[in-house]
């Protein structure tokens, strides 16, 4: 049991998905296996522990990939043979499958006045929170006590030092648009489900113009939420942080949030894009 718990903790620490199958109930002949028996199956198919009989371990191993893909817990009933138990069977083993998924990650680029409430709300919403800045007096754990990690690195190191995957929600709130631009250039083609960038419409357009000129595509920039946040007329840093985190929740849960972001590239920008790309996807 301790070994399996250690393996589970280590997998989460490495952000590797896995599935834990647990015998939660047994009836009739099913009682041959102990309630509480566990099998952990990694994304690579490697297993640890046992449900008590090989037949069940095999069935669980086969089911694990499906549970990982679905991302939700699942209950199943088996006979000791490992076959699914008929509905009204009096002899069965009930197995709970739980996906172990790395927590969603909030990556806050820039450690200024918006980053502080942002990291607090991120923590409340169960994100793993990482804050990055290139200033040693801003990128401190004392300033971000709720953060899981605070990195003082050049902005240009962001994608190299922090893996940006499908569970990484990224907010660009640096002190100057050159820095936002620097990071955006490098993460525009990342699989991050959310990239938000602070700034007025004008500042956003300035950044987009330069990136389009460099050959970043309109499609890539259309994924960016800028100006950032839901349109709630937020004014204070705290209110802006609420607007941004509400937007992230809306993206994550496929909600109907009313976004502030530019939905269409202004005509002047389309002309820039036309210079470096072959098509204008929506005009």
């Amino acid at each position: 049991m301790l070994d399996l718990a250690r393996q589970a903790a280590a997998a989460l620490e490495r952000r590797e998905p896995a599935v834990i199958a647990t015998v939660v109930h047994a009836r009739g002949q099913g009682r041959a296996v102990p309630v509480g028996a566990k099998l952990m199956v990694g994304a690579d198919g490697r297993a640890c522990g046992s449900l008590g009989v090989q037949t069940l371990d095999r069935a669980a191993g086969a089911q694990a990939a499906e549970v990982l893909a679905g991302g939700e817990p699942h209950l199943a009933q088996y006979e000791l043979s490992g076959d699914p138990a008929p509905r009204r069977s009096r002899d069965y083993v009930q197995v709970l499958y739980e996906p172990l998924l790395p927590p969603d990650r909030l990556l806050v680029i820039g450690a200024g006045h918006i980053a502080v409430p942002l990291h607090e709300i991120g923590r409340i919403l169960d994100f793993e929170v990482i804050v990055v800045d290139d200033r040693a007096d801003f990128a401190t754990p004392a300033r971000f006590p709720q953060a899981d990690d605070v990195l003082c690195i050049p902005f240009s190191d962001v994608p190299a030092r922090i893996a940006i995957d499908r569970t990484t929600y990224l907010v660009l709130v640096t002190r100057a648009h050159e820095h936002d631009e620097e990071v955006l250039r490098r993460v525009a083609d990342s699989p991050a489900p959310y990239i938000g960038m602070i700034g007025s419409k004008r500042r956003v357009i300035t950044v987009y113009r330069r990136l389009l000129g460099e050959g970043v595509s309109q499609e890539q920039l259309k994924r960016v939420f800028a100006p950032v946040g839901l349109a709630i007329n937020a004014r204070t840093p705290q209110e802006i942080a609420v607007a941004v985190m509400a937007e992230i929740v809306s993206v994550k849960r496929h909600g109907q949030g009313n976004h502030s972001a530019l939905r269409e590239m202004p005509r002047s920008l389309q002309a820039v894009a036309a210079g470096s790309a072959e098509s204008l996807p929506d005009s």
Partner: protein
Amino acid sequence: MPSVYDDIVERLEQAESLAVATVIQTRGSTPQKVGAKLLVHPDGRTQGTIGGGCVEAEVWKEATAALRTGASRVVEVDLNDDVMGDVCGGTLSVFIDVWQPQAAASRSENGA
């Protein structure tokens, strides 16, 4: 970010037991989510939540009892019995899993 398994490892390494209550099934209208967990320590302390006061007190009682016997089991909670019955409804199944530092063979030593 520490997970529930970090807590389990830490407790077991200290040779302590703990009960992990997990919502495994819901029927009817319940605010609880399948997979939600509540950790209950032998001294009664808890960590996490399975979705609120309606049900947590009852699960806590069952979990502390399970820690005494050492037996993991499923309990059914009927939210309609609750004094807050108009807020919550439906029923849910909660698996109370007792994690012990040694294998079940030493179960009797963990009694109250």
